[in-house]
Amino acid sequence: MRSERDDLPEFQAGPAGEEWEVWSPGAAGDDRYALVDLVNRVLDRGVVITGDVTISVAGVDLVYLGLNAVLTSVSTARRSLGRRVGQEPLPREGGGAEG
């Protein structure tokens, strides 16, 4: 008996059985862009469910929030905090990815 899962298409294989991992064509230096993609997605996208939040700003300052949200990017955190604490400014980040 076939299950629903048997009918699911697998990832289409690339030439010579190429593995479908995150890739970044071109020079090796492009790896940093793949990391930015990852950070933007994991920190600033995805389903948000209730949890506690720990935010690292510029890898130095930690802000702990009991919000109905989860960790987010610095830019999103600043917007979120501004709404919740009367537009009090957060420390400026020194860099890093924003979504």
Binding site: F11, P25, Y33, V42, I55
Partner: protein, 236 residues
């Protein structure tokens, strides 16, 4: 002790293989309630957003993606125990099931349009006389306001230019999967004209990649970089 959640799946979807390891090398296991399943780990504490933890989170989500498209959770979904995790999830069970149906059989692909924004500004100034200061403009309040207006117009033109480039690339990629949903950002950060994410059917992923690698051809001043497949972070 904290229970950390990586992604949501349908009840009955495959559990994580034994080799799948989560944050800090923790075991990843499946728990189900009703129509929803979730991949979890027990951690000593809520993880901080260190690079290795972000990578581990996505690695677990990616392992789920191989068998069936999950709903990736944003990093940091830590709970006191499994009951608390399921209380949060089941409160939104209907919404999560709809999202699972929307992404089923698909994965997220992404392109980033890299450019030199300063060069684009110079190009716009060369093309449009209305953006350049007139010769012999005197100093003063009116001149200041005119300069402000021109600066605003220049940034607006830059945004329009980025949008036009995104439209061009999006059009070229639509041949891979005309049903793909799209999410875009315009001028999200320095050096980036914009980003596109598409929710592409699995059987069209390789075609998408081939098209994306050629999508920048003929577009002056922009480099197109493609990545994926990702779990559908941008579509949940």
């Amino acid at each position: 002790m904290t229970v950390y959640a990586y992604c949501v799946r349908r009840a009955g979807d495959p559990p994580p293989e034994a080799a799948v390891r989560g944050i800090g090398g923790a075991e990843v296991y499946l728990r189900e309630s009703g129509t929803i399943g979730v991949w979890l780990s027990e951690l000593d504490a809520t993880p901080e957003p260190a690079a290795e933890h972000l990578l581990a989170h996505d690695t677990v989500v990616r392992a789920a993606l191989r068998s069936r498209t999950p709903l990736p959770l944003r990093f940091g979904a830590a709970f006191a125990d499994e009951a608390a995790a399921f209380a949060a999830l089941t409160a939104r069970e209907g919404e999560l099931r709809e999202a699972l149906a929307r992404v089923d059989g698909r994965a997220e692909m992404a392109v980033t349009l890299l450019w030199d924004a300063d060069r684009e500004r110079e190009r716009l100034l060369a093309e449009r006389t209305d953006l350049r200061p007139p010769a012999g403009t005197p100093a003063g309040g009116r001149a200041y306001l005119e300069a402000r207006r021109r600066a605003h117009a220049l940034e607006s033109a830059l945004r329009d230019r980025a949008g036009a480039l995104l439209d061009a690339v999006s059009g070229r990629l639509s041949a891979a999967d005309s049903t793909a949903l799209e999410a875009r950002t315009v001028l999200p950060r320095p050096g980036v004209a914009g980003t596109l994410a598409h929710l592409v059917r699995r059987e069209h992923l390789f075609t998408y990649r081939e098209l994306a690698e050629r999508a920048g051809e003929g577009l002056a001043g922009v480099m197109v970089r493609v990545s994926g497949p990702w779990a559908p972070y941008s579509f949940v």
